[in-house]
């Protein structure tokens, strides 16, 4: 039984199709991240799951129960919002027990649940304060606590860390992971931050234009992007794309005066494709002094951007801009002539006509 199952979900606002015939199965205890640029429909999908938006077609099942028409509170979900959405006039305790009071739970049960949640989230000392007297990180903890006390199977997070500063964000990210390890609930998490997605997710669903482009484990998404969009979206700094063609029955990639040996490429049948794109991540390229036929690209160093441990070096190769990530102590001087060694096993080839990975 799937924890959450979305079947042929379509959502229209007027004539605009926001979600297009979308299918998604989430396993029990899985941490799924919905990732995509703004407007891709990821928050909309989450709101549909929560029952805050009415879908146009399709079904939603949670824990095997068809909840397509159920009220948000009847779906067995807890939700955490980007703006925390705490009730300003209630104390932390009041915020956490509001839903339980409405559900008509007995007082001692409410107290017990609030106690347990506040212990897990270490917000015990804050229980009698109002949200206005809390910091951003504390507020988000309370918001998570409000979802926790519902003791539901599925947690929905709508960009919960986006309003926090960078340091707090990474702290809470770790805490969320710890929380998931401890509770083993199903979590569906919306974000536009790929670091959050890569660090937290069991599987990532990359969305664009109301369609899931790829649903896979973070490493698979990173190493074997299903199409050009996913390849360009995941990874910072972004993947280098080189337009060219595959020749010699798919044995070589040709662009400008450079010809690269494709032996060792992990993927499907390459064949001869007049329009192909080679994707190389900056960290999969190395700078060498000597050319190796079929394995290097000649380039000239333009500038470099030191980023602490690493430095991102920008080069011109065959008139194209490329970036390479090198340890900061190996920064080359601008204007230097170098050769970029390609690790073809880690490269991605795309057919330019349908933008899919070969």
């Amino acid at each position: 039984m799937h924890s959450v199952s979305v079947k042929n979900l379509t959502l229209k606002f007027g004539s605009a199709e926001v979600l297009k015939n979308l299918n998604l199965d989430v396993e029990e205890g899985e941490f799924i991240v919905l990732l995509g640029p703004s407007g891709c429909g990821k928050s909309t999908l989450l709101n549909c799951l929560a029952g805050l938006l009415e879908l146009t077609e399709g079904q939603i099942h949670i824990k095997g129960k068809n909840v397509t028409w159920a009220e948000p509170s009847e779906r067995g979900i807890g939700m955490v919002f980007q703006s925390y959405a705490l009730y300003p006039q209630m104390t932390v305790r009041g915020n956490m027990s509001f839903g339980l009071k409405i559900a008509g739970l007995p007082k001692d049960e409410i107290a017990k649940r609030v106690e347990r949640a506040s212990e897990i989230l270490q917000i015990g000392p804050l229980l009698d304060r109002k949200p206005g007297a809390l910091s951003g990180g504390q507020r988000q903890r309370v918001a998570i606590g409000r979802a926790l006390v519902r003791e539901v199977d599925v947690f929905l997070f709508d960009e919960p860390l986006s309003n926090l500063d960078a340091k707090l964000r990474s702290e809470l990210r770790v805490e969320l992971k710890r929380l998931h390890n401890r509770l083993k609930n199903t979590m569906i998490y919306v974000t536009h931050d790929q670091i959050e997605a890569l660090t937290l997710a069991d599987r990532i669903a990359i969305m664009r234009g109301g369609i899931i482009q790829q649903l896979d484990a973070p490493q698979t998404i990173y190493n074997r992007p299903a199409n050009l969009f996913v390849a360009g979206f995941i990874g910072s700094p972004a993947m280098n794309f080189i337009k060219g063609a595959t020749v010699d029955g798919g044995k070589r990639f040709q662009f400008g005066n450079v010809s690269l040996d494709l032996a060792g490429y992990e993927g499907g049948a390459i064949l001869d494709r007049p329009k192909a794109i080679l994707g190389l991540r900056p960290e999969h390229l190395t700078m060498v002094d000597e050319a190796i036929a079929g394995h290097t690209i000649p380039a000239v160093v333009e500038i470099d951007e030191p980023m602490g441990a690493d430095s991102l070096v920008w080069l011109l190769a065959e008139g194209r801009q490329m970036s390479v990530r090198v340890p900061v102590e190996h920064r080359p001087a601008p204007g230097k002539q170098v050769h970029l060694r390609v690790d073809i096993a880690k490269a991605s080839l795309f057919d330019e006509t349908n933008e899919l990975r070969i």
Partner: protein, 299 residues
């Protein structure tokens, strides 16, 4: 010297002259406005404290030498409003009887309508919003006669319910607009969170939104109380002679001349009539401005 290591020259905050040209302009305008509005009030107060001989013989700008509250007592208790000589206190209680129910009913209806329009969109809710917006601009004079007929057909013309009904109806467009905009400006995620928590239409309204909406409720109360209290036209048309509000009674006192004009009584009655809105503005001006600003966000 402690600062000997600093270079010579200016240091710290730049001194500002007390009066700059901008300030001079601002203060001049403010003072002129204050005098313009306060001077009539001053004349009313000193006149109401004089006796009639002093008024007839003296200068209107000079304060009285023998202040007396006789005129106030007479205005409240025994000034004549046409046939009856029971003072303006009758009108005061009538105004209370008109204002309190009209204010309460119109605010309850308008806040619920505004809340529904902002958070529970229904079919054509945007159309209704547009109609509401337009109807706030229709001069209400065109509706007076139709409303006379409607209240007559309802059998309540010339009674308290009629004037309460009319005030409630005329308060609704603006108040609904105000409430809708205020509720639309509250964070949508709060509404969603409450729904996930299982709160329904009434619970969200009373337990989540209403406690956050004190400023807009304050504005609504002020608008309605002052508007209805100051109203003359609806009172004289729909209330009927026994229910005339204070403004109408005041007019009758001032106009029913028996013998010489009792300016001191007129002034006292006028101040008494204006006292309620005055007091309301005085005590809640801060909330009023805050609420108006809050209601103005997001159209």
């Amino acid at each position: 010297m402690a600062n000997s290591n600093l270079a010579a020259g200016p240091s710290g905050a730049k001194p500002k002259p007390f009066i700059t040209p901008q300030r001079a302009v601002v203060y001049t305008v403010l003072i002129v406005c204050a005098i313009f509005f306060l001077f009539p009030l001053y004349i009313m107060i000193i006149t109401s404290l004089k006796n009639i001989q002093e008024i007839q013989s003296g200068n209107i700008f000079i304060p009285t030498l023998h202040p007396t509250l006789d005129a106030w007592e007479k205005a409240w208790n025994s000034a004549c409003t046409g046939l009856y000589c029971e003072g303006i206190k009758v009108g005061f209680w009538n105004s209370i009887k008109i204002t309190v129910p009209s204010t309460i009913v119109s605010i309850i209806v308008a806040s619920l309508t505004g809340y529904s329009m902002a958070n529970w969109p229904f079919k054509f809710s945007e159309v209704f919003f547009t109609i509401l917006l337009l109807s706030s601009f229709i001069p209400y004079v065109v509706m007076i006669y139709p409303l006379v007929i409607i209240t007559r057909e309802l059998g309540i013309y010339s009674t308290l319910p009629a004037v309460v009904l009319v005030h409630t109806i005329f308060g609704l467009p603006l108040l609904t607009l105000l409430f809708r905009n205020y509720f639309a400006s509250l964070p949508q995620e709060l509404f969603k969170a409450a729904r996930v928590d299982g709160a329904g239409y009434w619970q969200i309204f009373f337990q989540v939104f209403a406690p956050m909406s004190v400023p807009i409720f304050t504005v609504a109360v002020i608008l309605q109380v002052t508007g209805i209290w100051n109203d003359f036209l609806f009172g004289v048309i729909y209330a009927g002679p026994t229910n005339y509000p204070m403004t109408v009674q005041l007019n009758n006192i001032v106009n029913s001349a028996q013998g010489g004009k009792a300016y001191n009584v007129d002034m006292a009655a006028t101040i008494l009539t204006g006292l309620v809105p005055l007091a309301i503005y005085f005590f809640s001006g801060k909330y009023f401005v805050r609420g108006i600003a809050a209601g103005a966000v997001k159209g």
